[in-house]
């Protein structure tokens, strides 16, 4: 019994190493997770506008256009990192980005956008996190491509990076535009 206790450290290390080994699988892309939503209609979005005096955010208003729905929060560090590239998504690929402040105080989200600049075509405040649940997000940031028919075409879990834009999102956008 006493010997078993001394075996414990090596057993824990073995489990961790096995997990890391699976994590290093080159086919695993930590930021591209399949979503049950891909190929299905996007959940409806009906949220209070984030900017002061803005109208309610309704996804239906964007019907006929390919849009990116980006969930963010002022408390989320990777959201700061991806922020600069969201503008690029709009400027280079002509995809308007809809921003949803998830589980965040509207004041804090507004301050976040005031500080870094507002890359979004429209913004909504999902303070309760309800819309996030509808989309099945597991954290922020996450970005969904929704085509003109309201069908979810791609889901990116994690921040938008320059490499991600080029290698992952660009093909997904081209595919969705077809």
């Amino acid at each position: 019994m006493r010997r078993l206790v001394f075996l414990l450290p090596i057993l824990i290390v073995a489990v961790l190493v096995a997990a890391f080994w699976r994590g290093l699988d080159p086919n695993r892309d930590p930021s591209a997770l399949p979503s049950a939503l891909v190929g299905k209609p996007a959940p409806a979005i009906d949220l209070p506008g984030l900017a002061a005096g803005a109208p309610r955010l309704d996804l239906a208003a964007f019907k006929g256009k390919l849009v990116a729905v980006n969930f963010f929060a002022s408390w989320c560090l990777p959201c700061r990192a991806e922020h600069a590239f969201l503008k690029q998504l709009n400027a280079e690929f002509g995809v308007p980005v809809i921003g949803i402040a998830w589980k965040d105080k509207p004041d804090a989200s507004r301050a976040f956008l005031a500080e870094l600049g507002d890359p979004y075509a429209a913004t909504g405040a999902d303070e309760s996190g309800r819309t996030g649940i509808d989309f099945g997000i597991t954290g922020v940031p996450e970005t969904f491509l929704v085509d003109g028919n309201g069908i979810v075409r791609y889901r990116l879990a994690g921040p938008v990076t320059p490499e991600g834009l080029r290698n992952v999102l660009a093909p997904a956008i081209a595919e969705a535009k077809r």
């Binding site: 001394f6 075996l7 290390v13 073995a14 890391f20 930590p30 997770l33 005031a114 870094l116 921040p159």
Partner: protein, 658 residues
């Protein structure tokens, strides 16, 4: 030519390391003295080769030799010289070379100053250290050659990431690595002792200075990183529980536990197998950090470029470096006999509590860091673990530990007098209650953390002072006698008092900064102002400035309070010439009570600027407290008994005989 020589020096270092890893080990097993003695010249030569390679790389950066690939990727001819030099370790390959350099520095130091170590232990320790070198040199030569050339060479480089162009980067990685990698030598000592099958008070005494040195550097490195984030990132924060911050914090936590448990081995000959385990795990966490940062397995703001082949290689290294010693541990440790017995309520008992709490805290941070990965692998879901998790798990473990910190030093070895200890701490309790009441008075509806944090902070602060005064019998005898006693007190005792005192100061600072931070954001036209905590920040003007390799908008704030002038602040928003990434340069006015922190954001296009100001109470206490902790570590290190290379001769002689 010089880069090729550097590359060649690395190959020679690898050959040296191979010799050092094998011959002395065999020599120690068979009692062949010359083979054992080979470890010393091999360690010195290995250090010399790696140092040559490092200088060669630095030379390539200093002279902007763009035919070297990583110089092109991370430097620019217009960059200030200091950032050209610090760019040497501002990338994966260069920082790995720094890593190996420090590994060989510690090997060379033991070779030079370990004259009093038993020859067998010394040979084995250096051999183990060389095995780590072999792994990392292979890793560097096979997957991450810092000297890879470009042909044709470009005329200009891509510039160092602007965020890294800060004096912080010049100091933070070398200091951090000294700590991080320094624990490798403690690890080598522990594995050598496991092979030897003997751990005793003398062993603990030999290991302690290395442990102290690494701990001190790690403390300094972590705080420098935190200070850099506070100054450079412009987010007004100093700790984000980012996976990479955690990667350096876990070795610190477990290393702190080790520092305390080694004390028990040294004084009381108990907790031996536990101390060996901690020695292995501390360096294990350093390796884990290296793996997490460089494999791209976890998303973080700090991560280097990710490359799965590198990840596999480090994982293999990690598995061998940790797996083999832990297997040996499982075989050998059960037979180790503890010496001293002790009652649960004693100095040893308190140190055991300290160790249990620190180990649990480490496990908590490990869980928080790896949970997103483990969940993703098992269920496919992703989460991000942040501040709330650590506030709910880490803080409740830290509070009892800090409470205990004041009591422990009053407890006697073997059997302690808890009542007596608590009686002597009455003044500390009174002061702590006072502080908590003041905290509530300052802000009645503030978070509960504020009074709790101040309570424990002041409790340790006063408790440490009382313990120090009792030790020198401050109120007995005349001044000359007290002075004598103070002079004769061992430096290690001063070190402990300073380190505990420093941590108390830092805890008070962290509490204040976390609980009472306030901020205000507004779009201001020049001439307008905004208010925060009674201060009036007037935006006087915004003008263009040109730095060596950037253009910046520099704002001028006039800060006043109640009409009286307080300070001028000049935050900048920089646009570097090569990399199109704006960075903020916060302007900070530091006072003991609070920092005023101003950042300027984007222009709104209508003549106004987005302006953000923070009022950060007590932040400077964190830096000041950490500085005292480092001073405590250095003081303890200078203790005659532990002086590097001068362990007690009697112990060494005995061990040599045995």
């Amino acid at each position: 030519m010089i880069p090729e020589l550097g590359h060649y020096a690395l190959v020679l270092a690898l050959i040296m390391a191979l010799a050092q890893a094998t011959l002395p080990m065999v020599g120690a097993a068979r009692g062949i003295r010359p083979w054992m003695q080979l470890a010393k010249p091999a360690a010195l030569a290995q250090f010399a080769f790696v140092a040559f390679a490092f200088l060669a790389l630095m030379q390539a950066f200093a002279s902007s030799d763009f035919s070297v690939a990583i110089v092109t990727q991370h430097s620019h001819s217009q960059q200030p010289l200091i950032y050209k030099l610090s760019g040497t370790w501002g990338n994966h390959e260069g920082s790995l070379l720094l890593w190996v350099l420090i590994l060989t520095i510690f090997g060379a130091l033991v070779a030079l100053f370990g004259e009093n170590l038993p020859p067998r232990l010394k040979a084995r320790t250096l051999a183990i250290q060389a095995m780590i070198s072999v792994g990392f040199l292979l890793f560097m030569l096979l997957t991450s050659n810092p000297f890879a050339r470009l042909n044709p060479a470009p005329f200009e480089g891509d510039e160092l990431n602007p965020l890294l162009q800060d004096p912080g980067l010049a100091m933070h990685p070398p200091t951090l690595y000294l700590g991080y990698v320094g624990f490798s030598i403690v690890f080598s000592f522990a594995v050598a002792a496991l092979i030897d099958g003997k751990v005793d008070a003398a062993w603990a005494r030999w290991v302690r200075p290395w442990c102290l040195l690494s701990w001190t550097c790690l403390t300094g490195g972590i705080v420098l990183g935190s200070w850099w984030a506070y100054n450079e990132l412009g987010w007004g924060g100093w700790w984000f529980w980012d996976p990479v911050e955690n990667a350096s914090f876990m070795p610190w936590l477990i290393g702190t536990a080790l520092l305390h448990s080694a004390l028990v081995v040294e004084k009381r000959d108990a907790l031996k197998s536990w101390t060996i385990l901690l020695s292995i795990l501390t360096f294990g966490f350093s390796l884990l950090g290296t793996f997490l940062v460089r494999s791209g397995i976890i998303t973080s703001v700090h991560a280097f470029a990710d490359d799965p082949t590198r990840g596999v290689f480090i994982l293999a290294l990690l598995t061998i470096a940790i797996g083999a010693p832990l297997t040996l541990f499982a075989l050998r440790a059960p037979t180790m006999r503890g010496g001293g017995l002790f009652a649960p309520l004693s100095r040893e008992g308190a140190l055991v509590m300290n160790n249990l709490l620190l180990a649990t805290m480490t496990a908590t941070v490990l869980l928080g860091t790896l949970y997103p990965l483990l969940l993703e692998l098992t269920t496919g879901g992703t989460v991000s673990v942040g501040m709330p998790f650590y506030a709910a798990t880490f803080v409740p473990l830290a509070l009892p530990l800090i409470l205990l910190m004041a009591v422990g030093p009053f407890m006697g070895w073997k059997r302690g007098d808890v009542r007596g200890a608590l009686q002597r701490l009455i003044a500390a309790a009174v002061a702590a209650f006072g502080a908590a009441v003041i905290a509530i008075w300052i802000k009645t509806d503030g978070p509960i953390l504020a009074p709790l944090g101040l309570f424990v902070g002041v409790w340790v602060l006063v408790g440490t002072v009382i313990e120090f005064m009792e030790r020198i019998h401050l109120f007995e005898g005349n001044v000359a006698r007290i002075w004598m006693r103070a002079c004769h007190m061992p430096r290690a005792a001063y070190g402990m008092s300073l380190a505990h005192f420093g941590l108390a100061i830092a805890i008070i600072g962290m509490t204040g900064a976390a609980a009472w931070k306030t901020e205000n954001i507004k779009v201001l036209q020049p001439g307008q102002s905004l208010a925060l905590q009674g201060y009036d920040f007037k935006l006087d003007s915004v003008g263009g400035v040109r730095g060596e390799n950037y253009l910046a908008d520099q704002a001028h704030f006039v800060v006043s309070k109640g009409g009286d002038f307080v300070a001028d602040l000049y935050p900048e928003r920089r646009q570097y010439l090569v990399q199109p990434m704006p960075t903020t340069e916060a302007a900070i006015r530091s006072t003991p009570l609070a920092d005023l922190y101003a950042v300027i954001g984007e222009p709104d296009g209508k003549g106004g600027w987005i302006v953000r100001v923070y009022h950060e109470p007590l932040v400077s206490w964190i830096w000041f407290g950490a500085l005292i902790m480092v001073a405590g570590g250095l003081t303890s290190l200078s203790d005659r008994r532990y002086r590097v290379g001068a362990p007690v001769r009697a112990g060494a002689a005995q061990a040599a005989k045995a």
